[in-house]
Amino acid sequence: MKLLTHNMMKSHCKGVINGFPLKLTHSQIETKEIEFNPDFINRIISRLEWSALVEVANQLGVGEGLPEMLPESQQIDDEDTLKAIHHALLEVDVIEGELECPETAKATSWDRQVSDMRLNED
């Protein structure tokens, strides 16, 4: 799972008030090379929850180069920063791990590309 996806996901358990962000535990990561597209990065950063991204990137040790806060205009011109964001969002792949809902602590696990998000309410 890419960190870009993690940034968009939140818990859909019933009764949860704020299910974002999902806590990532027991994770193993891999990095791949993905083509860098600065336009895409500039546009996607306005859709992200920046603090959550920084937090999880630092937790995984891939957060270097990420600014603490986004500038007002939400546009970044510095190519190195853009490359660091590109790396954290798209090139890091969490291949194994668990996601925990911050309120109900329901854990979902995954393997490779597929994350098991079933609630299994019985």
């Binding site: 996901m9 939140k10 597929v114």
Partner: protein
Amino acid sequence: MDISQSMLEIAVERETDGDLLLADIGEGVPFRAGTFDGVISISVLQWLCNADKANHNPFKRLKRFFTLLYSSMRSGGRAVFQVYPESPKQMELITEQATRCGFTGGVVVDYPNSTKAKKVFLCLFAGTPVNNLVMPQGLGSENENTVQYSNERFTGKKRKRRGEVSRKEWIQNKKQKMRSLGKDVTADSKYTGRKRKPKF
């Protein structure tokens, strides 16, 4: 997202881009508010109408799905679902639940007269789209909004004789008919129905 592990495994085999989620959409979708501008779904919604387990209630599942989907979409976002409804009633059920959750839009049908080529799409808008609500036009339905009606009594006296319609007209009518059935028809050109020399 898919409920079937095997289908997801095939997706992995085919090296699909992006991340895959094994999930039951009847439980909702696990995304943050205002995330998506576009949603595509193919041959999925009709399954929400089935109750595969004892505790499944299709109404509730559809409602849960559309509620969470609506909130995960940005205002102005669009969702298109290609569905294979069992009956018009099922289509109504789905559309009703979607409207209850705040979606606008409706059903678009491609080639409504053909059993083979007919495709049903549910096109939904979350909030008001930026460049006005324009519903896509279904294919193969240009002549379907009118019905020919006349008050004349049919006496059988005005029987059409064969050959009344010119050859070229007949060919063009036939091509139009085939087009509305969704078949591949070559484009009309100056050679279509052209009069041949007598030696033909």
